[in-house]
């Protein structure tokens, strides 16, 4: 117990640092920000593994030790309990006077009848009984220890299932624009983190087409003006056998498909942009996901046109769904919905650095080696359906009338998730029975005092926490003696 207590408190203590600094797993950008803000402290904390507290050696060591001690505790206890479950209640103690709730009843009654009625009464109450001479020894509440063992074993079960799920599951993210599709294959993910034992060539095959994305913005309630809600992604899925069905994905309502869950975790605008050369030939067209920057969905995106124009062209764009002009003259968005959208573009020309085949983020443009053709002040401005000239007579650029939205989907597969739930329910069930079922022994002894008189003795013994033992023994004594026409001596 001392070891368990020590390790439990140590575990509680060790979990604290992970809540104080950002964690790589939950908030990688936060970790980077922390590194910039605390350049001296960062390397020390990083060396200690604090940014990955819950995967660190020291944290793992504590909980693994805790579980080792737990297993070391439950094995002998389970063995002992197995024996106890099959054994009979032990012999009645010679002297009951010092036991809990000791009371007596005396008077004229048949000793054998008193004994047999005690046995049947205790049996009805769920006691296991055994007669020793002129006494009944009874025990109940074996479920307490069973529950206790189930609780602790289920905790081990959770740990094993979580580990298993981590090894055999995967998570992946993908941004999908309305009208386009996503296939559950490694290459089609933006990011994917498979478990150690996952064969990513063998993901369950399915395809999701995002037909439409729905969202509402609060315009009535002044206190929540612009608050977004009612997200629904209408999708069409196709399974390996070619069967197709319509479905919806909402927040709190993931889509179950092929043993995998698909969650709707984010959204934004993906305007369709078309670039033409001076002759009017389309050289580039695409739906460009713009990442939201603030609550009113001022969104930033990058357009890279590698071929077809006189030079490679890169653009940094800002989309203002409902454009407003700040006193400084800068543009901003005043509402997240597309009430009055404007796309502004800063244009750069030169080597985009994508020819050497090195993968580059589609959301960032390194402008160090580029020439600025249009900057913040003279940025190109487009409204839906509008076409404007690119600087230096490079060509034209068009913003399509219909501004699409994208959804960001999280795809998870955790084959052990159901097991974690089963064990969690066992934890709760084990806890309830292990804490609240009283384990107790009760004895009823009949002593013949001569002349047909008997004295009945009642007593109990708590095995573990049992605050209601006295009351229980008193209740048994009262019922039993009353049935025999006797009264409990006060």
């Amino acid at each position: 117990m001392r070891t368990a207590l020590f390790l439990l408190l140590l575990l509680a203590f060790a979990a604290i640092p992970g809540s104080l600094v950002p964690q790589v797993t939950a908030d990688p950008n936060g970790v980077r920000a922390y590194e910039i803000q605390n350049p001296t402290l960062y390397p020390i904390l990083d060396a200690l593994g604090v940014f990955n507290t819950y995967g660190s050696v020291w944290f793992s060591a504590i909980y693994l030790l805790l579980f080792v001690s737990l297993i070391g505790c439950i094995i002998p206890r389970a063995r002992h309990h197995w024996g106890a479950l099959r054994s009979r209640p032990p012999r009645t103690p010679a002297r009951l006077e010092r036991m809990a709730g000791f009371s007596t009843a005396s008077g004229q009654a048949d000793a054998a009848a008193a004994l047999s009625s005690a046995t049947s009464q205790l049996k009805r109450l769920g006691y296991r009984t055994e007669t020793f001479g002129a006494s009944v020894s009874a025990e109940r509440g074996y479920l307490r220890e069973t529950g206790n063992l189930v609780f602790h074993m289920a905790l081990v079960g959770i740990l094993v299932a979580v580990g298993f799920g981590g090894g055999f599951g995967f998570t992946g993210q993908r941004i999908v624009v309305e009208g386009s599709k996503f296939v559950n294959a490694e290459g089609d993910y933006d990011t994917i983190s498979p478990g150690r034992f996952v064969d990513t060539d063998d993901l369950s095959p399915f395809r999701i087409v995002v037909d439409d994305f729905e969202v509402r913005y609060e315009a009535e309630n002044k206190n929540a003006y612009g608050q977004a809600g009612g997200y629904v992604a209408h999708v069409t899925n196709t399974l390996a056998d070619g069967s197709t069905q319509k479905a919806q994905i909402k927040v709190n309502e993931p889509l179950e498909i092929g043993g995998t869950q698909v969650y709707l975790l984010g959204n934004g605008y993906a305007p369709t942009v078309t670039v033409r050369d001076p002759e009017g030939t389309v050289v580039w067209t695409d739906d460009v996901p713009f990442l939201p920057q603030d609550a009113n969905l001022t969104s930033q995106g990058v357009i890279k046109v590698p071929d077809g124009l006189a030079e490679q062209v890169g653009m940094i764009g800002f989309l203002y769904p409902t454009v407003a002009t700040l006193p400084s003259g800068a543009l901003a968005s005043s509402f997240p919905d597309l009430n009055d959208p404007v796309l502004s573009l800063q244009v750069y020309a030169g080597d985009l650095g994508i020819n050497d085949g090195e993968p580059k983020s589609v959301y960032a443009l390194n402008t160090a080696d580029l020439t600025q053709l249009a900057g913040r002040k003279d940025a190109l401005k487009l409204t839906p359906g509008e076409t404007v000239d690119l600087p230096d007579g490079l060509g034209t650029i068009e913003l399509s009338a219909d501004i699409k939205r994208f959804v960001s989907l999280d795809v998870h597969r955790d084959p052990a998730q159901g097991w974690v739930l089963v064990f969690a329910i066992l934890v709760l069930g084990g806890l309830l029975t292990g804490l609240f079922v009283p384990r107790r022994r009760v004895w009823v002894k009949v002593v013949e005092t001569g002349g047909g008189d008997i004295r009945i003795e009642y007593a109990g013994l708590a095995r573990g926490e049992d605050p209601t033992l006295d009351a229980a023994v008193a209740d048994i004594a009262a019922k039993h003696s009353t049935a025999l026409g006797l009264k409990v001596d006060s």
């Binding site: 117990m1 001392r2 368990a4 207590l5 439990l8 408190l9 575990l11 509680a12 979990a15 604290i16 992970g18 809540s19 104080l20 950002p22 964690q23 797993t25 939950a26 908030d27 936060g30 507290t53 819950y54 979580v162 998570t171 609060e218 309630n221 206190n223 929540a224 608050q227 977004a228 809600g229 009612g230 997200y231 909402k250 927040v251 709190n252 309502e253 993931p254 869950q261 969650y263 975790l265 999280d410 998870h412 998730q417 974690v420 739930l421 969690a424 329910i425 934890v427 709760l428 806890l431 309830l432 804490l435 609240f436 926490e465 605050p467």
Partner: protein, 320 residues
């Protein structure tokens, strides 16, 4: 309609706070009365002198006289305090219900509403437990604690009714948060009993400490009561943890992600698991386990206030 109800709700909560303040004062008077030396001998003399009214007075004395180790003492300030607490609680619950009606959902979706509902549940648990044991000596602690939280909430956390964000639109909001508050209520009572236990055991060993302790159960009884109350809290907390994980799986795509709030819920669970083990550990019964219970409740408060307000995480629903 929404705004009217919202205003009524605020009016009711201020009224509840005023009534709780009076209850707190009455509870304090009761503690002071308990601290006074038992006036038995002097009053008996007076009673015989008055003669005819002696019986009535003696009867009252019998009920008023401190019964050591039972904690079942009663007095006018105590009865007034309990009555005021009930009235305050009715107003409090009414405020909560009106807030819920104004919002058209359960009234626990931001920091202000959490505080209002959780404190209503804490007082509810306090009142409910009276049917089982006489815990009225904790009245000053509970009403004082609730008053401070409500004051902080209405002054600093007040926000007007806003629609529920999508992530909170789930049946789990109702279950998970309600049971967490229920667990908090039991932990609060448990911590109060543990504080009383620490004071009591000091008084038992060294004779120092406030005199009103003489009217409370002895340290061992207090410890047993605290243990049983905290066990119930622990079961609720376990359920909260599991329900939260199920909800997190639906809303965020993973059942456990070491989000700051998850971490602290886990820390609290571990502390109270330690508390339960401490009772079965030699040398840890008594004051040490009482300290653990108080630390555990401190972590609950930390989780509810500091973590909600200052820590970055997914449970960012404080609405501030």
């Amino acid at each position: 309609m929404t705004q009217t109800l919202e205003t009524y709700s605020l009016f009711a909560i201020y009224s509840a706070m005023a009534v709780y303040a009076l209850a707190f004062i009455a509870f304090t008077f009761d503690l002071a009365r308990r601290a006074a030396p038992a006036p038995v001998s002097a009053s008996v003399g007076a009673a015989t002198a008055v003669g005819g009214r002696a019986t009535a007075l003696l009867e009252r004395l019998a009920t008023d006289a401190p019964v050591p180790d039972s904690g079942r003492t009663t007095s006018r300030p105590l009865r007034v305090a309990m009555a005021l607490t009930v009235v305050g609680w009715v107003l409090h619950v009414a405020a909560d219900i009106m807030r819920g009606l104004a919002a058209g959902r359960v009234p626990w979706a931001n920091m202000f509403e959490f505080s209002m509902t959780a404190t209503a549940i804490v007082v509810g648990v306090f009142l409910l437990l009276q049917f089982w044991q006489d815990f009225r000596f904790l009245g000053a602690y509970i009403t004082g604690f609730v008053l401070i939280l409500l004051g902080l909430a209405t002054v600093n956390f007040y926000v007007a009714v806003v629609p529920l964000p999508d992530a909170l639109q789930s049946a789990w909001l109702v279950i998970h948060v309600f049971v967490a508050s229920l667990g908090t209520g039991f932990f609060a009572i448990g911590a109060g009993l543990s504080i009383a236990q620490l004071l009591q055991s000091r008084r038992e060993t060294s004779g120092t400490g406030p005199r009103f302790l003489d009217t409370l159960p002895n340290a061992e009884k207090l410890e047993n009561l605290a243990y049983r109350v905290i066990l119930v809290g622990f079961v609720f907390w376990t359920f909260t943890l599991i329900a939260g994980a199920i909800w997190a799986e639906r809303a965020w795509g993973r059942y456990w992600g070491w989000d700051t709030k998850e971490v602290w819920t886990f820390i609290i669970w571990t502390i109270f698991a330690g508390y339960i083990h401490a009772r079965a550990t030699r040398g840890w019964r008594g004051s040490r386990s009482a300290t653990l219970a108080i630390v555990g409740f401190g972590a609950v408060l930390f989780n509810f206030t500091i973590v909600n307000l200052f820590f970055k995480g997914l449970h960012a629903y404080s609405g501030l």
